[in-house]
Symmetry: C2
DNA sequence: TCTAGTTACGAACGCTGTTCGTGTCAAGTA
DNA sequence: TACTTGACACGAACAGCGTTCGTAACTAGA
């Protein structure tokens, strides 16, 4: 866990500095919360349960976090810290960006449905900032115009988070592996195939195709679509 | 209405007030729920409040909806029904798709943060199906390969929903118009500009650029990126 | 008129995030 | 050493949630 103390964003009012007694600390709370999410999922994470796991009461957590949202936000940033940073000196920048997208996805997927707390916000946690910095270095180094680079990072985060979200949703419903999900997709395809063919000719015709492609293939499609687009912008600016 | 609905004499008042009990129905529940979301936002939508608005108790709603999730799902499909369907006979399919993306976004934005219930799921509501059918017709008509068309619709929905989500988040925090949001963005930019320049050279240098571009411009960027990508796939298949 | 069956819904259950006021204890002062 | 001070700890309570249960109220058929 890199813990460089960056200045706190000034618009977020901090109540108390987290001066701690022995057993409790923001760190301990975060570790415990993450363990709970990994074990039981995000819905099972309540202030009471975290406190209970720490052998205390829910009220004690509010000394370190203004509210549950703040706890979740820091939890997410902590996990983002596990994503390897992309290297600006990679020989093929497109491959590097693609690879990093896959790594990001893998990190999110390894924490159940924690990704659900990723709101469509400008992320300001220290690890998010480090990540953004590294990705900016890669894109600018590749000749992507500044403005496009900024938007590109937005778009990539969005796609990665959305994909992880979808996977988390499947897991939530017991469809963990691709094999588990197959019967479900089969059902969907069947349903589409039996729609009224005069009103839904395309859906009926494409019923088998609609569920084609694993999660990985779809993710690859989305990522390639974007990275190729960025590359075209880089060439246009050259 | 007959003129007989005077208040009952208290000495023979019954337990039940004469409250003009209109026949409860799924339709009535959905309309009321949508009105509440539009007025007070999604977080203010509870089963109790919907029931109260209908002059009944929360338990009554469970005769028409298995649970709150089902109610929300149908609510979303209802709103999706307000999106104009894309036309397969449009002269320029790319323009048609782009236009439809904007219209979709507008519909979501006109219902506060209702878009938050759009989960990364295969949507099976009747209106969602009609929409998917129409979009498939456009893409296939344009020569986009079947498999790509299926994935394309996924991607577009994803981007539209994510964009509407971000806008809804701003609204939630009181930043309704672009002018309202300007001070917030200014703060973010300032914060970035004052990060340690040796650790964050790119973020510091790009502090003004990071917040550049209105929501509309960013949305246009994302949509164009995708549609152009689809077009390349169509050409490759020709 | 009586009965059977459906719908309506108040009350209650167990949960949630958060706040208040008191309890507890370490450090500072006399 | 004894006393005071002040910050952290946290049980209890509050207001709200989604959902269920048992019964009350009404409708339709006999």
């Amino acid at each position: 866990m890199p813990s460089t103390d960056l200045p706190a964003p000034p618009w977020r009012a901090r109540k108390k500095p987290p001066a701690a007694r022995q057993p409790l600390s923001a760190e301990a709370v975060l570790s415990t919360a993450l363990r709970l999410v990994d074990r039981d999922g995000l819905d099972a994470l309540s202030m009471r349960r975290v406190a209970q796991e720490l052998g205390t009461g829910a009220a004690s957590l509010y000394a370190y976090f203004a509210n549950k949202d703040e706890l979740l936000e820091q939890l997410l940033d902590r996990v983002i810290g596990d994503i390897p940073l992309p290297r600006a000196d990679a020989p093929d920048w497109r491959a590097e960006v693609r690879k990093n997208c896959w790594e990001s996805r893998a990190v999110f997927l390894s924490h159940r449905d924690l990704v659900r707390v990723a709101r469509a916000n400008i992320p300001v946690g220290p690890n998010s900032l480090r990540y953004t910095e590294a990705m900016l270095a890669v894109l600018r180094g590749a000749g992507v115009p500044d403005r496009i680079a900024a938007w590109a990072i937005d778009q990539m985060s969005l796609v990665i988070v959305a994909d992880a979200l979808e996977a988390a949703l499947h897991v939530e419903q017991g469809r963990v592996t691709e094999a588990d999900a197959a019967p479900y997709f089969e059902q969907v395809s069947d349903y589409l195939a039996h729609l009224p063919p005069d009103e839904f000719p395309n859906l009926v015709a494409m019923a088998p195709v609609m569920i084609e492609g694993s999660g990985d293939e779809r993710f690859a499609f989305a990522i390639d679509l974007m990275v190729d687009g960025f590359a075209r912008h880089a060439e246009a600016a050259r």
